[in-house]
């Protein structure tokens, strides 16, 4: 057992750190215009790609470097530590395409996905199909060599800036609901695709609704077999990013440091209660980090991502939400009067952490299944 970098990892980390210091676009987190922010994310993706930092754990044949997931973790950690812009998320989409795609599809989609030339979004959830994804209603009807898609998707993050969408739609209403779903790769510039941003409670547009009205999709853009959509979705979700994979832990540390500074500025550091609260927040972050490190080690040693991921997701939601509660308690009225307005926004942004990617309730259900408790 060793929690330290191997010499190779340490060398990689040192090079990466130097590269990040040079390449993180200055002032990126001050960009307020959403369009400009989207352009910046796209260019950041290309910069990372050119340096070989995108898809490092992908097989070499698909443009990756065949490295272990540890390297992705190091990238996330260092990027978080140095306050880089969010890293592009290509892993789950890439995995779906290189697992289920035809050779043509791989050739067509993987290189531009990796390079960031083409930005993707994920059309899974619907207004009436949130946690119960299998009950989705968007339909894709075969019409000659095309499918015709109709329906509404919700919580399509990045929908307004994406070029393509990995879309789930019902192709067979006659079979049991899990079996009638297929997966499609669709250009967002097709006629009939309408994107509407969803403003969340913080007042910020964080995600989108996408309306699909008689959108024609060539049969060749179906990923996998007809009816295989559920299986593809589950593969994708299993590789959905946990707290470690999005640099959350590094972000958490930075946020905690800010909260500590605010407490100091307000002269609260001589209160034992505040000291304990801040230390408890540190402990929560460490516990989450160490749980993620163990999971990473298990994954690197060849285990498939399993329900243990639910443990980290619950710890994640708890850590994030508790930290926002602590900030609110330390800021007092300043969070509510607009004096420190970013914090109220962060507070509201922290709430859906226990809803996204399966609510806390669903994570607990998954753990109960893993423990062998009966349905």
């Amino acid at each position: 057992m060793d929690y330290r970098d191997t010499p190779e990892e340490a060398a990689f980390r040192a090079t990466l750190r130097g590269w990040l210091t040079e390449n993180i676009p200055a002032g990126w987190d001050k960009v307020e215009d959403p369009e400009a922010a989207a352009r910046l994310r796209r260019s950041w993706h290309r910069t990372l790609y050119q340096a070989g930092y995108v898809g490092m754990s992908w097989p070499v044949e698909y443009g990756g470097r065949g490295l272990s997931a540890t390297y992705d973790a190091i990238l996330n950690e260092e990027a978080g530590n140095l306050n880089a812009p969010p890293l592009p998320s290509v892993g789950y989409l890439g995995r779906a395409i290189f697992t289920y795609g035809s050779e043509e599809q791989k050739q067509q989609f993987l290189p531009s996905l990796l390079s960031g030339e083409v930005q993707w979004c994920q059309g899974f959830s619907e207004p009436e199909a949130g946690s119960d994804l299998a009950s989705l209603r968007t339909t894709a009807k075969l019409d000659g060599d095309h499918y015709v898609v109709n329906g509404q998707k919700m919580w399509t993050s990045g929908g307004q800036y994406a070029d393509w969408c990995m879309l789930l739609a019902r192709t067979d209403p006659e079979v049991p609901k899990h079996k009638g779903i297929s997966c499609f790769l669709v250009s967002m510039s097709e006629p009939g695709v309408t994107v509407r941003p969803i403003v969340i409670a913080s007042g910020e547009a964080e995600t989108c609704e996408v309306f699909w009205d008689e959108v024609r999709v060539p049969v060749a853009q179906r990923l996998g077999e007809p009816g295989e959509g559920w299986r593809i979705a589950m593969t994708t979700v299993a590789y959905e990013r946990g707290p470690a994979d999005i640099g959350f832990i590094a972000t958490y540390r930075r946020t905690l440091a800010k909260v500590e500074r605010m407490a100091a500025e307000r002269g609260l550091l001589d209160r034992p209660e505040t000291r304990k609260q801040l230390a408890r927040a540190y402990v929560r972050g460490e516990v989450l980090r160490l749980n993620c490190v163990e999971q990473l080690a298990a994954r690197v040693s060849g285990q498939q991502p399993g329900p243990e991921g639910s443990v980290a997701k619950l710890l994640w939601a708890d850590a994030e939400q508790s930290l926002q509660h602590l900030a609110m308690d330390i800021l007092g009225a300043d969070e509510l009067t607009g004096v420190e307005s970013g914090w109220l926004s962060s507070y509201f942004t922290s709430r859906p952490v226990s809803v996204y990617g399966g609510s806390a309730q669903i994570q607990k259900n998954i753990i109960a299944r893993m423990l062998g408790l009966p349905r």
């Binding site: 959830s125 207004p127 009436e128 199909a129 949130g130 946690s131 119960d132 009950s135 919700m154 919580w155 969803i198 403003v199 969340i200 409670a201 913080s202 007042g203 509660h325 609110m328 308690d329 007092g332 009225a333 300043d334 969070e335 509510l336 009067t337 607009g338 004096v339 307005s341 109220l344 509201f348 709430r351 859906p352 226990s354 809803v355 609510s359 806390a360 309730q361 607990k364």
Partner: protein, 349 residues
């Protein structure tokens, strides 16, 4: 011992509920279009702004219990009018100071006043002193009331909101807030009525806290009701989500916290006029400590029951949360109340 509303009180509650039920937003978008003056006129016409006016022998027209019923109703309806600021807090200051004429204007609804709170929204501004200050719940008011230490004692003063204040982007979308950083020159302040005694101030705080609690109970009760209704309708996995025990228990826990808050608030409201000021204030702090302690949790649970949709700006859930969070802070959060309660209970033993 009868902790039950009288028939008259039940009628008043019904009237308040009817007005409030049609005066608040169904969706956040309504806040831009609602006719707030109509709501205010309706409250005035029903006599609900005059509850803390005094009759000939100096007794309030309505007790703390009546005030709490109206506050609960306006809280439940998320009604964006300054019932707490003008009709309760400012009104009571004027009545205690014996400023009958000014109080009468507020009672009729022809004038409005807000209150000036300290920089942490924890207490009524006590001038002179360092800011910042906040004019709180000041919709339609051109001044806020504060306290000023003078050679005659503590006086109620009018602080004009026209200059030196900037509109603040408050969390609560249903109340108007303005901030002032610049010092306030005591010479520019207009005193109103007679000096207040320490007992007056204690009684005022008890009433003000009880009213904030009642507003919070209303916000929580209607939020829980909406979440429960949604849980009955929303189908996932082929069944209403309210049939899942996890959702049931979330709703049940929110309900228990809310009903407990109501019990503590009812007593605090009754105590305002029925008990000694110190006892009334202890009851009010007890209610506020509980209400502040559960307000965030209850409204968060409600947002959670609503799932994804409850996280969106278009949905009403966060309007409840924002009002509840602000109420939690106004006149002191749980920690502030607990420390004061401890002072009463642990000192002198």
């Amino acid at each position: 011992m009868r902790a039950l509303l009288s028939d008259e009180q039940r009628m008043l509650k019904e009237v308040a509920g009817q007005i409030a039920g049609t005066s608040g937003p169904v969706n956040p978008g309504d806040l831009a279009t609602l006719d707030r003056s109509a709501a205010w006129r309706a409250l005035a016409q029903a006599g609900l702004l005059a509850l803390r006016a005094r009759d000939e022998d100096g007794t309030p027209v309505g007790s703390g219990v009546e005030v709490a019923m109206v506050a609960e109703a306006t809280g439940a309806g998320l009604v964006p009018v300054p019932y707490l600021g003008s009709a309760v807090m400012a009104m009571e200051l004027l009545a205690l100071a014996g400023a009958e004429e000014e109080a009468g204007e507020l009672a009729d609804g022809v004038a409005r006043a807000g209150v000036l709170l300290d920089g942490n929204l924890e207490g009524l501004a006590h001038l002179p002193g360092d800011g910042p200050w906040y004019g709180w719940d000041i919709d339609g008011a051109d001044h806020a009331l504060a306290l000023l230490d003078t050679v005659d004692g503590t006086r109620v003063v009018r602080v004009p909101l026209g200059t030196g204040f900037a509109g603040a982007d408050g969390a609560d979308l249903t109340r108007v807030l303005a901030r002032r950083d610049a010092p306030i020159d005591p010479a520019t302040l207009q005193t109103v009525g007679d000096p207040l005694t320490a007992e007056d101030l204690t009684r005022w705080e008890a009433l003000a806290l009880a009213a904030v609690c009642a507003d919070t109970v209303g916000v929580m009760r209607s939020a829980v009701t909406k979440a429960v209704d949604y849980a009955k309708e929303r189908v996932q996995y082929g069944v209403p989500i309210g049939s899942f025990q996890a959702v049931q228990h979330m709703c049940a826990e929110a309900y228990v916290s809310t009903e407990a808050a109501a019990s503590a608030t009812n007593y605090a409201a009754w105590a305002v006029d029925a008990l000694d000021p110190e006892e009334a204030l202890l009851a009010a702090r007890t209610a506020k400590a509980h209400c502040a302690g559960v307000a965030r949790e209850v409204t968060e649970t409600v947002m959670q029951v609503f799932g994804g949709i409850g996280q969106t700006y278009e949905h009403i859930a966060h309007v409840h949360t924002r009002r509840a969070l602000t109420n939690r802070q106004v006149l002191g959060d749980e920690g502030a109340q607990l420390l004061r309660i401890a002072d009463v209970r642990l000192t002198g033993e």
